[in-house]
């Protein structure tokens, strides 16, 4: 059971990081800077990835306990609820017929639709982790693998997004509604 939990936590964190990386790559390949709602979804998704990362970091110190799993799942659910609200809001903004949506679709759906699906799946994953505690009483000796690599990947993703949003907003407090360029580099 402890290995299953470790696999689930690592998969949870890396899937969220992969979605964030796909959004980041799409930003530069398609040349479409993210809108304010997109950036807020990214923040919520990075906070959601903080959930499994927190559990892994706690497990690396004190073993994979029920407490560590519950705290991480709680963080993931809170952040995913906010992220789902933001992404559903953006889906509803573009729900009318003949609306082209914001940005280019990836695999048939826009990024905010993928984000809504990812947040819903993350809430389900956190719920499953909590339900699974019925059959797992914790293990204080078990240290999951790849903990620091996962935390470092999240840290790199956070710093990269922070630099990207600074480049996009320049010295302005808010982002433009429909950004088309990076204000820090434009005159």
């Amino acid at each position: 059971m402890k290995s299953l939990y470790a696999f689930a936590l690592l998969a949870n964190a890396w899937v969220l990081l992969a979605v964030l990386a796909a959004a980041f790559i799409s930003q530069f390949v398609a040349g479409e800077p993210p809108c304010p709602l997109c950036v807020m979804q990214r923040i919520a998704m990075m906070m959601a990835a903080l959930g499994p990362c927190t559990t892994l970091l706690m497990a690396n110190r004190e073993g994979l306990s029920q407490r560590a799993i519950a705290i991480g799942a709680g963080i993931g659910i809170l952040a995913s609820l906010l992220g789902a609200a933001i992404s559903i809001r953006q889906v509803l903004l573009h729900i009318l017929p003949d609306d082209p949506g914001f940005g280019s679709p990836v695999l048939g759906y826009h990024l905010y639709t993928w984000a809504a699906i990812a947040f819903a799946c993350n809430i389900a994953a956190a719920g499953a982790q909590l339900v699974g505690l019925r059959w797992y009483s914790g293990n204080t000796d078990y240290r999951p693998p790849l903990v620091w690599l996962t935390a470092m990947a999240l840290g790199v993703m956070l710093v990269a997004n922070m630099l990207s949003v600074i480049a996009e907003a320049g010295f302005a407090w808010q982002l433009p509604e429909n950004p088309s360029s990076y204000l820090l580099f434009s005159r």
Binding site: R61, A79, A85, I86
Partner: protein, 51 residues
């Protein structure tokens, strides 16, 4: 700058969780509330609402 500060808060929270600091969870909750406030103020901004 607002969103960069929110992301900085997540970075600080991640560092706090990694180093097992008691302030990590309050920082996380503060960033969560600030992001919620940014979202709500964005969707209720009368300059952006169009019918």
């Amino acid at each position: 700058m607002l969103y960069a500060l929110l992301m900085l808060g997540v970075v600080i929270s991640l560092i706090g969780f990694a180093r097992d600091r008691v302030w990590a969870m309050p920082v996380f909750l503060l960033v969560l509330m600030a992001t919620t406030y940014a979202f709500v103020s964005d969707i209720t901004n009368p300059l952006k609402i169009s019918l």
